[in-house]
């Protein structure tokens, strides 16, 4: 598992953001979004901090964090591979792509490689159904894929990851 190091200034920035959310009704969700964005995940210590700032019991915050798929308790890999398993992609063979990428990286979906370079996710529809099947690597979208094209795309990023 990847070790998470949270920097002082990240906490400070998050606290500032929470302060502005506090002025409006319903501050919890926007605060959690900011935490996820700034830190990459919302571990227990951050939940406790938010609990204090918003005066909401940490039990409730934990309930909300674990309810929504976009919030994670653990950090994700440097590169996030999302194979879309929306219906349009699924009927055009996205499952085979997901299986293949998984076997290439030796992980299942929602897992991260031991070196922390890649996280594999089976994503919900990303709204690029016209290009189905699609896969995303970080911000990049690869459309009209098949199994071999998806491996090519993965390899491109693998090389990039090594060069880093």
């Amino acid at each position: 598992m990847i070790k998470l190091a949270i920097r002082e200034e990240q906490i400070k920035e998050l606290k500032n953001k929470i302060k502005t959310h506090k002025e409006k009704p319903g501050p919890l969700m926007p605060s959690l979004h900011d935490a996820q964005k700034l830190i990459g995940c919302i571990p227990y210590e951050i939940q406790k901090m938010i609990s204090k700032e918003l005066n909401i019991p940490v039990a409730k915050i934990n309930g909300v964090v674990t309810f929504y798929a976009q919030f994670s308790l653990e950090p994700k890999g440097e590169n996030i591979i999302g194979v879309c398993l929306g219906t349009a992609c699924y009927v055009k063979g996205a499952q085979a792509i997901l299986d293949k990428i998984g076997s290439e990286l030796k992980i299942k979906s929602n897992e991260t490689t031991d070196d922390g370079k890649f996280t594999l996710e089976a994503t919900r529809c990303i709204g690029a159904c016209g290009l189905a099947p699609v896969m995303t690597v970080n911000e990049e979208v690869y459309g009209n894929l098949n199994v071999s094209k998806s491996v090519e795309a993965l390899n491109k990023h693998k090389e990039g990851a090594i060069n880093d």
């Binding site: 009704p25 976009q70 009927v91 919900r124 990303i126 098949n146 199994v147």
Partner: protein, 619 residues
Amino acid sequence: MIRSSEELVKRYNETKGKILNRAGLETNGRKEVLVCGVAGCKSLKSDTLVERLREAISDNGLDIEVKETGCFGFCEKGPIVKVMPEDIFYSQVNPKDINEIVESHLVKGEVYKKKLYINPETKKAIETTKEIPFYKKQVKIALRNCGFINAESIDEYIGAGGYQALAKALEMTPQEVIEVIKESGLRGRGGGGFPTGIKWQFARNNESQTKYIICNADEGDPGAFMDRSILEGDPHSVIEAMAIGAYAIGANFGYVYVRAEYPQAVERLELAIEKAKREGLLGKDILATGFNFDLEIRLGAGAFVCGEETALIASIEGERGMPRTKPPFPASKGLWGAPTIINNVETFAVIPEIIKKGSEWFKGIGTKKSSGTKVFALVGKVKNTGLIEVPMGITLREIIYDIGGGMLKGRKFKAVLTGGPSGGCLTEEHLDEIVDFDRLKELGSMMGSGGMIVLDDKNCMVDIAKFYIDFMVEESCGKCVYCRIGTKRIYEILERITSGKGKPSDIDELEQLSQGVIDGSICGLGQTAPNPVLTTLRYFKDEYIEHIEDKRCSASVCKDLINEYIITDKCTGCTICAKNCPVECISGERKEKHTINNEECILCGDCFSRCPFDAIVTR
């Protein structure tokens, strides 16, 4: 700042010239280039095209504007570039085509034929958008500005007649506004199909100091992207409609609840809200009428159930997104206990047009009980995938064959899925059925938010049912026992069937469990979750029986029922399978029969679905 309706008219007069020229209604002698800058085209790097176009235009000493617009709809042929006002449609444009397009079309005035759309039927190139069969049967109301205006410019929206519906509504009484919507017969486009005007009336009748209006943009239906396209292509239409709705019900504050998975939609909407505020079209004393209305965005966080009204409200309040029992309906007790109206993006997008053109005009389109148009994401195994808007009452055949261009690779049509995970499948015998809210429901499916996924004979219906139920197992919030556990048990039975361990009693069990989930759930998610199972059982029972009794999947999708792939004598040696095999286990000379090395084969099925000659079979 636009402080009054007179100032709005003045701004319209200043900005309309450009729009009328673009539409070919009035000419100012200037050309413009439009490039789709969203969704599919963006994924295919249409932003590079914009840069290259601008460079090439200035290199040639021309003064022609290049605009990034919203979705043109015909995603299959992206990235798309259009030259206006002549409306020439260039498809699948590469950065390297740009110089030629600019030199030929923009410098010499000759259409660059190589990148025109080719009609697959006649093999002839088609120049203008309106002549392309994909667009011929479409009627654009919700998508009227998508792919036509620059979504980031409020002036272009105003030039296209934007915010005039708000000005008109503010001169009417709130009750008059509601009457127009009621008379128009507009029904909610998010899936339920509840009459919008009646919903608004409930909220209006509930007296309260505070009321809210919410736009539901938590588009979770996998395979549908109309809300995304509207927000990215015409965000002001949603803002304008929300202001109209707020005025009608007596609200002064609204939220747009958007999926976080749509960052570009969020960005464009944020920008549009900011611009509307700067122009005074949101905020205090709008158009000097004393009406105040403000708007904020709230992000979803990846929970399908939050598309349900009460769950969405809980999510904005900062709770787990779990639905509650209704009544009380949100129109009487919604966000923070106040009367709240929640409408879908597409519903909002048509409202300004209804206010402007009147309820009679809207009623003139569509069927008696489902007026107007509906946007569908036409995807799956059809030739022309993309976003379409058609009048209600059109037949499935017209959608799939006339607009969709028929089946991909000439394969056989098997079924079409509508309504997403809450809907169901329709088969060949339904192709001539009309599409409207009530007819789809009678057939066991539903309109849903508008995903329309076409399947061919290489899709397995049991597998599709399993796919949807798997989705529901994950997305059930867990509040109702039947939905939480029942969907899981249904999934397990389907898993058993697709892996060759099905029992004859499984079919009865599926039917019973499905009914239990429908009866035992409090919200729409659970009540509709078994629909894909029930409709596939209704129309494709033989496929279930085949899996259970013969341990066979004739579509060759269920891997556990496949021992190996074999290439038959039908093989022509075209090499497509060998070239694409991810483990390179197919060998053979060109124009000679190929063979599969079954020791190395991973049974991915890529060759099977790719073979144009049906030469690959399973055993």
